[in-house]
Subunit: 341 residues, 4 copies
């Protein structure tokens, strides 16, 4: 007899991490849910379920031979939020199987924290607190000698996907002139958001605050290095919020430590960072342990976006919330699997 | 022969502190400028200038007998930004002498820093940096155990003058439900800003983030005390940005130190704070040394607003940028003169 | 025995016109209400009530001799919305009697209708409907030969009080470059609203849509005439929304009728307009019979703003919603009393 | 020798209609441009070019046999803006050939005109002008007896694609409560735009202004009929801006003519409308001859979006501006080819 199986293989996520009870209930209304979350779903279990599977939530390997046996499969929904090379994307495209991921779930908390950290660097919030605690605080104008107003400061955004666009909306009340560098986008997308398309060099040299939200691709590893940092204005702020590999990390630490710029970073070449890593003692740095995206609400948004699109797909409609795997793009991405939630 | 004298008596400000060269040039175009800024203008000099004075920029004492001799005087422009009881306001009103102050010059930088500090308390920015520096950082969701999203959190604003209203505009993209307590304002002003008029108790008990921007009056000293802090939600954030005297300061420290709420403050009962003041070691506190308003741009805005309104007044038009001294209101204010810029 | 009388003398308004039942109830809570609305309150009744009057709602003549007898009077609240020369303003100022009017009550509906009429001129809404009814409609691009997009068109605003500022907020989503001409305001007010201060000539020659919201003063009657219309771009739109007397009306009709510009007007030199007035047949004109402000909600807003400020005044606080009569300004205004609601 | 041919077969559009000179120059930089715009490109010419074609701009029939011969083809860009059943979409998907259309080029002018027409119905703009021309105008409040304020009125949007979303952004300053009915979208999309997902019946019965932007599908022809109009509030406004076939047109005319609701429509079951069609004389109707989208700027946007995405595709990147043909969705659409530009 015909069953509609929903194969849930979400590690390193778990169902309770990404779905509140109401979303879980909606998942169960879509079919017979089979979950493996203490370990990746064993191959024999996957193989047994494939003929009845209509949806896969997770990062299960799906080469052509498995897809060929999954004749009812409508969608593979990656809930880790990075596409991996363990799926035969071309076969999915040909078969009309959606491969999607609710990647933008993390955009909102990261954009919020990016603004928090930019305001911190601009107005000296963490530094003022640290000074106060050791009796070295300065009052009034004297306490603002190294600060600048975020309002009205020229801003640069490198990478204008969900995250960059959400940050842009958050800062609207501050009325900044915003330059954007994103070679994957047409100028229209940038201009519609009231930003100015810019070259990387112009952005770096003209901005007082630079946000980096770029993904890592095969083409852009380390594209912001010593030369680029030297283009920046003295005292400008640089916020690295996406992937450590897009910058030359030692060059960034040098630019911060020398006092040339101030830097905030949420990401590091190796995580967790070694106990004796020099990053811990570099001055001019604001540190965050890859934690700006991983908020309670973001994980729940991951699950609710996944389920909402699954509902559409089961009705024969296209997904609306998740990002689709464009085969051409997937081949360029260089993400590492996440090992910590 | 007739002279139009502009008496500039700006201490604790100085002309160069509050006017950039272009604004200073505009000031000089309004009349003959006489400045005393190494000391308050001596009485004999004031008295000599009064008959020709058309404008006073500063905090010069202006009792009735002086006003009676200043027959050409059109305006007294306080550039310290707090009205003091050293002017005969009634006589000014009767004579049509404007008494004004560009108080809102500080609203923009304070609102910006208020948001910075609120985001800091919500997302744990300063704390995460401190933890990282001692090797105690937590990654991902574990690093967010004590954080909350500012976006969407219920917000309360106590005091809805220039500062409260500017903060409200800054947080629009975060889509908070915003309650306002301000007994001096009609509900319409609150509602037009898409906020909900609220009682103090409801605001405190329902908000996740509470901003205090209230002025001190003869009626509200210490109106937020132990009872009020106990109404707040556990883990909520309280930001004191206007005057220390509106809260019971020890009760606030107790509420922070006990872990009931998290607190940020820019003001203190005595400034500078004593080296051994317990505030320096209280946990759960984010400290700022009365420095959120005193930015370079704010002092210049003070001067340019003062001069722009002086220009209008010299043309026979009402001022548009400065706050007017309403005699009824002035009597209620309890500001201390500022001693530090 | 002491009574607190509220003298209500609102013609040409009536209480029911301007107050819904809840606002009327609030009015009655402020004191003993005495109303004359079938005729102006007779002099003997006014004189009898003056010693007990705490508030006047209306346009009662209040020369010095009456004010001298009104020892308890705190405020005169004009509910017609134009200050008239029938009050001794100087005595009111000296006595601390507020003279205020809820003039901005009409700003919201007029701004809305101004945008409606501007969009009509730009996109040819009324004209397209007229053409369709006589079988002369044009489809697609052919139907847009004489239209232009309001979005992005350069806009000019003449007069930047409540009305101009509300219109400016309404058109934000259209992303126009907005020039403002208002010689009574400092540049800061214009710039804060993201507009550009401009001379009249530059505004007229560079704008595709010109809104006129200027009041009539002793200095600006007919200040927009044939020379000014000739500065405008061919096909530009001109909207006269405040007072007919600020333009040279025949010159405006000539500019419309000749096809040089398109014009919308809500006001006329004489109202009602004569049956055979040429305005009725001039082409290129969109006509509205002084009706954009007089909406049901606007009249109620008039009353609720008046009562809300009266409540503050009775508590010893300054009014927040109404406009204050600055004696200097009042002398310049040239309003005619309204005869029709 | 290898050529990269760009096959341009744009009828009913022409190249000059949709591309300004700078966009045309960008098109020519992408390859060797071959245009047929006085007639559809003849089959023999198409067949001759196919082996070298990298891009097709237009509505050329592309069955499997043609696709099989177009081995270099990267994209088919429909410039009429409706997908037609003359392409083998499945083969395109399998081959990685993008099939896209810049449909949203028309969203901006239609949204603007939709607001114009809604404001017209609410505030009686066209009607007031018509009355004035025949000497029947009413002044002040009397002239507003049948009007309502658009600001604050409850709004309903049926169909929340590009057009509905752009209209929603345009009306933000009016602070309406906005309900949305769109069964193809998840609630998140609606909520992110600060709207409330709603059933059709609730939307119709609770809204003062209803905008219809829904596409026609095999499932929704005539889904708004007599029953639905009867649910609407007396005096409410109904704006039909997308396709005539989604409503029961005679029922709509009846609802307008009887005075139950007021209606504006830009579309008609047959266009051009017959000279004696009763629509021309029905009262309560605001008429527009399918002209709200066809503005000069919209046609140019069509071309520039098409070329911008073609540029991305030629670089191996996914398109960002055009809508993609999802095979599942294409099968549901019931568009008629446009015959008039």
């Amino acid at each position: 007899m015909s069953r509609d199986v929903i194969l849930v293989d979400p590690l390193p996520r778990t169902v309770d991490l990404i779905m509140d009870p109401s979303v879980k209930a909606r998942l169960h209304r879509l079919g017979e849910v089979v979950i493996s979350e203490d370990r990746p779903m064993p191959a024999e279990q996957v193989d047994a379920l494939l003929p009845d599977a209509v949806l896969i939530f997770g990062q299960t390997d799906m080469p052509k031979e498995r897809l060929d046996r999954a004749r009812k499969l409508k969608a593979i929904i990656n809930v880790e939020s990075n596409f991996l090379p363990n799926i035969d994307y071309q076969t999915c495209v040909e078969r009309g199987i959606w491969v999607i991921t609710p990647a933008s779930a993390f955009a909102s908390p990261v954009a919020e924290a990016s603004l928090a950290m930019a305001l911190d660097l601009a107005r000296g919030i963490t530094k003022a607190d640290r000074d106060f605690r050791v009796g070295a605080e300065q009052y009034g104008l004297a306490g603002n000698e190294e600060t600048f107003r975020f309002a009205g400061a020229p801003v640069g955004i490198i990478g204008f996907g969900d995250l960059g666009q959400q940050l842009r909306e958050l800062i609207r009340p501050f009325r900044n002139h915003v330059r954007v560098f994103d070679p994957w986008l047409p100028e229209e997308i940038v201009q519609r958001a009231d930003c100015v398309p810019s070259s990387l060099d112009e952005l770096l040299s003209e901005s007082q605050v630079v946000f980096v939200f770029a993904s890592v691709t095969s083409e852009n590893e380390g594209f912001i290095g010593a030369r680029e940092f030297s283009l920046m204005r003295k005292g400008a702020a640089f916020l690295l919020m996406s992937r450590a590999a897009v910058v030359d990390f030692p060059a960034m630490l040098e630019a911060a430590g020398s006092g040339h710029i101030r830097v905030a970073t949420d990401v590091f070449p190796e995580e967790p960072v070694a106990p004796d890593d020099p990053v811990r003692t570099t001055p001019g740095l604001l540190l965050s342990a890859h934690r700006t995206g991983g908020t309670r609400d973001a994980f729940y948004a991951l699950g609710s976006m996944a389920v909402a699109d699954a509902e559409l797909i089961m009705r024969g409609l296209p997904p609306q919330l998740c990002r689709r795997a464009d085969p051409a793009t997937v081949r360029r991405l260089r993400s590492k699997p996440v090992t910590v939630s």
